[in-house]
């Protein structure tokens, strides 16, 4: 590492500084993880163990909240909806966005530069400015409460994201790669699919993962464009969290929260190398 405290490991004070850094780094990480840990812990409590003062760390775990809430609130269907929408919009954006990113990076077209700037600008468009007309249009077309509507709505922020990331990724590849393939008789499409795609796989995967996470947790469009059939998990959670009339339903909140968080966390940890890279690329090159 090139940071300053490690640059003096020979001196005893440097040693001490290094150790303090490690300990505080671990402490900060545990502090940041604690809320998630507490949520999972609470989801296995019975109602009587949740509302106690002092808060209980040790109790007899139960899955009764999960069983009860699953039966009551249609969580299963919302979970399936969320998976459909996240996967659908992730895949759509990656296909469309990658092709466009490639075109932006490689093909000389009039207006490509302008288009690039527009894409960058579109990342600043507040979703609330889109939600109102989307709702009105979806209503007129009879498309409210459908998966496809949400998938298309999510493409408004996912496609520009994918395009921009993949554009910088393609720019970092040497042009000679396709040129030699094209001299050997490959078409532009042939070169793209046979040469470029295989090399781009890591970048592609990280972009896809992050797109799906973004779609997985989106709330505003889901709230506006769905109501029952295609409703997603974030909408359910917002409902429970904002439900102040019945008092806080922490059991339901933590159970549903755990159901949504655990798969994503496991997934993110499995692919963390790609995730970190995708994020870093997105930030530094975007």
């Amino acid at each position: 590492m090139t940071t300053v405290a490690t640059s003096a490991p020979s001196r005893p004070s440097g040693q001490l500084g290094h150790r303090i850094r490690i300990v505080s780094g671990v402490a900060v990480t545990l502090l940041f993880l604690f809320p998630v840990f507490w949520m999972v812990l609470t989801s296995f409590k019975q109602q009587v163990d949740i509302f106690t003062s002092p808060p209980k760390f040790f109790f007899t775990p139960t899955v009764s909240t999960y069983v009860e809430y699953f039966r009551r609130a249609d969580i299963e269907r919302r979970l399936i909806n969320t998976v459909i929408v996240a996967a659908g919009s992730g895949l759509l954006s990656i296909v469309v966005g990658t092709m466009a990113g490639y075109a932006l990076a490689r093909i000389r077209l009039r207006g490509a530069a302008t288009f690039g700037v527009l894409i960058l600008l579109s990342r600043g468009v507040p979703p609330i400015a889109l939600a109102v007309p989307m709702f009105l249009v979806a209503r007129q077309l009879g498309l409210t409460d459908k998966h496809i509507t949400l998938i298309l709505a999510y493409s408004t922020f996912l496609v520009p994201y994918v395009m921009w990331l993949m554009r910088s990724f393609f720019l970092s590849l040497p042009r000679e790669l396709e040129e030699s393939a094209m001299i050997d008789g490959c078409s532009r499409y042939g070169a793209f699919f046979k040469i470029i795609m295989p090399i781009s796989l890591p970048g592609l995967i990280s972009t896809l993962i992050f797109s799906m996470i973004l779609a997985w947790e989106e709330l505003l469009f889901a709230l506006v464009l769905t109501n029952r059939v295609a409703s997603t998990i974030p909408v359910a959670i917002a409902g429970i969290a904002g439900d102040t009339i019945n008092g806080a339903n922490w059991g339901a909140l933590t159970a549903v929260g755990t159901i949504t968080v655990v798969p994503v966390v496991i997934f993110a940890l499995l692919v963390q190398k790609w995730l970190i890279r995708g994020l870093a690329d997105g930030a530094t090159k975007g």
């Binding site: 640059s7 990480t29 609330i128 109102v132 007309p133 989307m134 496609v159 974030p234 966390v265």
Partner: protein
């Protein structure tokens, strides 16, 4: 490129123009479409509405506190968790967890932790003689709560970018500084910081683009309350449109937000370029 142009025209450009169209018209609730052209009337109404200004002020307070806090914390923590040792990879991996927790879930969890009666936070605070604090009953504390939640969720994002930036710093410059006998402060101030300025400003702009859209955390944690203390513009527009069905006025507000965002983003981009040149 064609498919993406078509897709974005339909899903992005069309709604924007539609919003602009509605913002200059009356809204006909019987047909659910734009009615008569009324010029700037909607804009006048919005600009004369004190609730709009209140929401704008709330949004600004949130942005002004949360953004620098998150960027500073993010880089500081990145420095800490990148100390070289065996568990570094694991720590770095674990640190991404808050980031993949959906904002609504984050809002919900923290609502529970900050609960005045049964929440863990007040219990811990009482241990050191503070509180209990009514986090969601007091306007200032509610804003603090929103900022805490937002910071909890977004700092890991900045930590990751900062990590990538720290790893990309050229090692030999630091070696040279060490040989020249530079102490850690001057190393930090005159070597590391100038090298990091571009990435810090880039992070700020990215986080800004995310933060102006913030909606889900307030919705799950405070629903704008108490009173209107945490009613950010996005929530206010949402309420005006979908609760009060005032689509014309809310479209005018959305257009104002759009223009403000674009202008400020342009200023930030310009400013960050200037800053990079200076160092």
């Amino acid at each position: 490129m064609m498919p993406s142009i078509v897709l974005l025209l339909v899903t992005l450009a069309y709604p924007i123009f539609y919003t602009i169209d509605i913002s200059f018209s009356t809204f006909d609730l019987s047909t659910f479409g734009a009615g008569e052209w009324v010029g700037l009337a909607n804009y006048e109404e919005v600009l004369n509405d004190y609730r709009f200004w209140d929401a704008l002020k709330v949004t600004l307070v949130y942005l002004v506190i949360a953004l620098p806090l998150q960027v500073a914390l993010g880089f500081a923590i990145a420095f800490l968790i990148n100390a070289e040792w065996g568990g570094r990879g694991l720590i770095r991996a674990l640190f991404i967890i808050p980031m993949v927790v959906a904002p609504v879930v984050a809002g919900g969890i923290w609502r529970m932790i900050l609960d005045p009666l049964w929440g863990l936070m007040n219990y811990a605070l009482q241990g050191i003689g503070v509180g209990p604090l009514d986090w969601f009953g007091d306007p200032n504390l509610a804003m603090a709560a929103v900022i805490i939640i937002d910071t909890w969720r977004w700092t890991p994002f900045i930590v990751l970018i900062a990590t990538a930036a720290l790893l990309a710093l050229p090692k030999d410059v630091f070696e040279a500084a060490k040989i020249d006998g530079a102490n850690w402060w001057s190393t930090l101030w005159s070597i590391a910081l100038p090298l990091l300025i571009p990435i810090i400003t880039a992070t700020f702009v990215i986080r800004w683009l995310g933060a102006v859209k913030m909606f889900d955390i307030v919705l799950a944690a405070t629903y704008g309350g108490p009173g209107k203390a945490t009613n950010v513009l996005n929530l206010f527009i949402y309420e005006e449109a979908f609760r009060s069905l005032r689509f014309a006025e809310s479209s005018a507000m959305a257009v104002i937000v759009l223009v403000l965002t674009m202008v400020l983003t342009a200023i930030f981009l310009y400013g960050s370029r200037k800053l990079e040149e200076r160092f």
